[in-house]
Amino acid sequence: MDALFQTTYPVESADYTSAGRASADIKRKLKQLGVGGDVLRRVAVASYEVELNLVIHSLGGELSLSVYPDTVQLVSSDRGPGIPDLEMAMREGYSTANDEARSLGFGAGMGLPNMKRNADDFEIASTVGVGTTITMGFRLN
């Protein structure tokens, strides 16, 4: 089924000054559409985590929001570098964040686990040298 509303945000690598803008706009839009309560709270957390992941770990990419009659979908896709060991990356506390990110308080290794916990459906696919795509679905009640 076609999305009733769709919008895409480019997210640049290491751009800490605008980090959080896409997820803030996503939250604002969902509130305007009448998405509230628990779903909004979970989308808020997951969209911020996924946006920050693009800033911290990727070579740049985009985050897109699609709203279907029964689901909110977030898709993050980047241009690399790709994750060599997905199983390891999904572990709580495991992080490959660099010193700059850590000095800003990131890199606790909770990003991907938090996304998985907050989304109703979570899929991640990654190819080293190509990029990573994360698809998250949130069911509207």
Partner: protein, 434 residues
């Protein structure tokens, strides 16, 4: 829920308004529009923070409070001064000088809201012992902040403490005490809060978390200040006076509540834009290690309220100096556990989300409007100048899809259109007869 015609203390004085963009640009919830040469407050979005009162050079924004005369409508009246009132008097040695001055203005009984704060402090500390509380717990003391959360952060409402405000608790205790002493019935007694802000006035007439307020009205600190001043340095005081603790009094300033409730792990933030930034952090799940969050709409806390007389930094210093002279007793040791069951402390109603941001009740229709909004926004210049009467280009695009204005209300769009028309006229004039 019909939120379009709720009570608001913050009002517009129509004749004074010039229709400038000062308040338009500074309203934290984008609740103001300028149309027909004057400002309009969107009732559903206004949180009564009073920011517009502060920024209006023409004094066209006012806070409606009860006049001093209203005490005449009651057989007995009780004054409940906010602790921020103490900050209005430089060099004030003790709170009871102010309380005595209130008696001299004709109140039958005076009860410190700081004592209510003592009880609430104790009650919140008991609550903090519960397992599995949301983190951080957010204070419900500032009504403007609670309303900000209802309109901009509805998903954080579960984090807000479900406890009544100190003024409400103080009113319950004061009324019960007075009726016991006088042997009168509660209906004969009017309770009046001495308020530093319009948000508290609104919270009395349109309560948060309870059906009906324990208070009957609020008198502005600005109004009562001048009346109190001549009485303030008389050294007479009531020998039966039960003082509030320094912690309860400390609620007058930013960080006072946090220090009383949870000094180990709390954060206090003041000024609406700062509160918004911290709430965004909470929303992003970045502050889960924090136990307690105190947010105040006004810089400096309640001493910075729009209805205070003294400069907020000076007032803060006055409170701090006075508090230092008070004994270091904590509400935990003063408030008996029995008090926690004697008076209503918990809210009877949940804090409801304010869905005024919603574009339409029907989600499909809302999405259609959002799509159109984005298309319109792309055609707008993005100056956020406010000339159209909406605070930003995005808000203007939203106002168009809501049917409140048209694209031609943007002077830049209109100028472009005029330029095209002028060009067409020139071309028309130059056309020769074949």
């Amino acid at each position: 829920m019909d939120m379009t015609r709720r009570y608001h203390s913050v009002q517009l004085e129509k004749d004074r308004c010039k229709g400038c963009t000062n308040c338009l640009k500074r309203c934290p919830t984008e609740a103001i529009r300028v149309h027909g040469g004057r400002a309009h407050i969107l009732s559903a979005l206004c949180i009564d923070c009073g920011e517009c009162i502060r920024v209006c050079d023409y004094h066209a924004k006012i806070a409606v409070t009860d006049p001093m005369d209203c005490v005449r409508d009651w057989k007995y009246t009780i004054a409940l001064p906010a602790p921020s009132l103490y900050g209005q008097f430089r060099g004030l040695a003790r709170p009871d000088f102010v309380l005595e001055a209130l008696y001299r203005l004709g109140f039958d009984y005076v009860f410190e809201v700081a004592r209510g704060a003592d009880i609430v402090t104790r009650a919140i500390r008991e609550k903090l012992k519960q397992p599995c509380l949301p983190r951080p717990l957010i204070s419900s003391a500032c009504p403007a902040v609670v309303r900000l959360i209802q309109v901009r952060f509805p998903e954080l409402l579960d984090n807000v403490v479900d406890m009544r405000q100190p003024m409400e608790v103080a009113a319950s205790v004061a009324r019960a005490e007075f009726c016991r002493i006088k042997g009168c019935s509660p209906e004969e007694v009017g309770c009046f809060f001495i308020t530093p802000c319009p948000a508290k006035m609104t919270a009395i007439h349109n309560p948060l978390g309870q059906e009906k307020s324990e208070l009957n009205g609020a008198i502005s600190m600005m109004e009562i200040y001048g009346l109190l001043l001549p009485h303030i340095h008389d050294m007479l005081h009531d020998p039966n006076y039960v003082p509030a603790t320094r912690y309860g009094v400390g609620w007058a300033t930013s960080n006072g509540e946090a220090q009383a409730v949870c000094p180990e792990n709390s954060l206090s933030v003041d000024g609406i834009p700062n509160v918004i930034r911290v709430l965004e952090e909470v929303e992003n799940n970045k502050l889960t290690d924090l136990v307690y969050l105190e947010g105040n709409a006004c810089i400096g806390g309640c001493v910075g309220g729009p209805l205070t007389f003294e400069n907020n930094y000076v007032a803060e210093n006055s409170v701090r100096k006075m508090v230092k002279r008070m004994p270091d007793t904590h509400p935990d040791t003063v408030v008996p556990p029995s008090d926690l069951n004697k008076y209503p402390l918990r809210n009877d109603l949940p804090f409801e989300p304010n869905d005024a941001a919603m574009l339409d009740d029907n989600m499909t229709e809302a999405m259609r409007k959002m799509q159109r909004m984005n298309e319109i926004l792309e055609r707008l210049p993005g100056y956020d100048c406010g000339s159209c009467g909406s605070p930003t280009c995005a808000a203007f695009a939203e106002d168009i899809v809501r049917g409140h204005c048209t694209e031609m209300d943007c002077i830049h769009v209109m100028k472009d259109r005029l330029r095209v028309m002028a060009q067409e006229m020139v071309e028309l004039a130059q056309t020769r007869r074949e």
